[in-house]
């Protein structure tokens, strides 16, 4: 459903992505692992065109686009079928939880307000925030904000949701509530591409793992195989280190 071919990206002299390819099938939960600075986040941001890649091709939902030459219209069309959950939530600060969720429906998709509110409430209910519709982001905890962000992502009925280290900014006791929502989505068959440091999540929830280092994919495979029988020395070292 999503295929990336040979994506490259440099910031000045620094080569961040040196030709990464990946494939996500419908219903897959793909975890992207790797040490800091390996290019995971840049990869995800390029895939949703928040950064412009220098080279690469994307096949999304049957359409092929160039990652460095995609037009505004092509990008807008792709973004309407995807959703993005940020590390630091990025909720609209001047909107309530419910407005955060309905904004993309009413404004970007021209949905009738009543219908959008209904979908918005349903999405917030799903992430366990039925009692927080009218709260502003500043009145919510980090975990609650991230769950609003997930509800905002769900509301647009995306074909895939990208998660950029969704729990990295959270206190350990708040990561659980976000991870369990993501786990629930995975069970329901939502396609997800998740950059994460949560090994337990990657092992238990994801169907596929991609391990990156220095702008390259070092190893990839199904989650069980990756964790139980890592192939490369580098992956073994990484897994040993994160188990300690």
């Amino acid at each position: 459903m999503l295929e990336i071919r040979d994506i490259q990206k440099s910031f000045g002299a620094l080569e961040v992505l040196k030709g990464v390819s990946l494939q996500v099938e419908q219903g897959d939960v793909v975890a992207i692992l790797g040490p800091s600075g390996s290019g995971k986040t840049t990869l995800l941001r390029c895939i949703n065109f928040l950064e412009r890649a220098d080279a690469g091709t994307m096949v999304f939902d049957g359409e092929t686009v160039s990652m460095h030459r995609a037009s505004h219209r092509e990008i807008a069309a792709i973004r309407k079928k995807t959703a993005f959950v940020f590390q630091n939530y990025n909720l609209f600060r001047n909107k309530t939880a419910l407005q955060n969720v309905t904004e993309g429906l009413v404004i970007a998709r021209r949905m009738a307000k009543a219908e959008a509110v209904e979908i918005g409430k349903r999405s917030l209910d799903k992430v366990g925030l039925s009692d927080r519709y009218d709260y502003y982001p500043s009145q919510l905890s980090g975990g609650q904000q991230q769950r609003v962000a997930i509800a905002r992502a769900l509301a647009t009925d995306p074909k895939i949701i990208y998660f950029d280290e969704p729990t990295s900014a959270l206190d350990p006791e708040l990561t659980g509530e976000v991870l369990s929502v993501m786990q629930q989505l995975a069970t329901e068959g939502m396609t997800m591409l998740v950059v994460t440091h949560e090994m337990t999540f990657a092992r238990n929830v994801s169907s596929k793992v991609i391990f990156m280092e220095d702008g390259l994919v070092v190893e990839e495979g199904d989650a069980k195989g990756f964790f139980d029988h890592p192939k490369t020395e580098r992956t073994k070292a990484f897994l040993n280190h994160s188990n300690q």
């Binding site: 995807t82 630091n88 990025n90 001047n94 993309g104």
Partner: protein, 225 residues
Amino acid sequence: MNERVWNILTDSFMKILLPGLTMTIPLTVISFAIAMVIAVVTAMVQFAGVRGVKQLARFYVWVIRGTPLLVQLYVIFYGLPGLGIIIDPFPAAVIVFAINEGAYCAETVRAALESVPVGQMEAGYCVGMSYLQIMRRIVLPQAMRTAFPPLSNSLIALVKDTSLAANITVLEMFMATQRIVARTYEPLALYIEVGLIYLLFSTVLTKLQRIGEKRLNTYEKKETV
């Protein structure tokens, strides 16, 4: 204070306040409203980096901030007739104050736009909104909240700067006072009186600013959950 001066002050109070209400305030309000439109447009083309227009906006801010308000008033009112362009005192004053204030406020609004975290823009894109939709619904409202105190500051400054319009024969509070002084020869008492009336106007605006800030702050107020 002797009785004569006291009588002059009480007699003149309404004669000064009235032009304040019918001239100073409309002049301020109309000029500031136009200035806001100029400021937001000027700030937005700079923020968005619209080529060509951005340079024009910078040039405008540079020229207006770099020349005295009084000189600008004279150029428009006494200078332009030389080219056959004659503008009545009140509209001339509105034009100059709006253009002058617009340049200062443009910088305030631009700084406020730049203070909105880039993630707000990115989140807007990711839910499928266009640049203009994000600006209008997300970035600009947040920026205007940040810009509100400094813009209130500019408004209060403008109330007082309108006294310069006396120089181009706009009969506002200060000119009204000058006329009474010419008749009564009590400059100290009368100029202090008009100063106090300006202070009164500014005080009302300061109070309004506080109320405005309180209302705008609702979404940032941290409440126990």
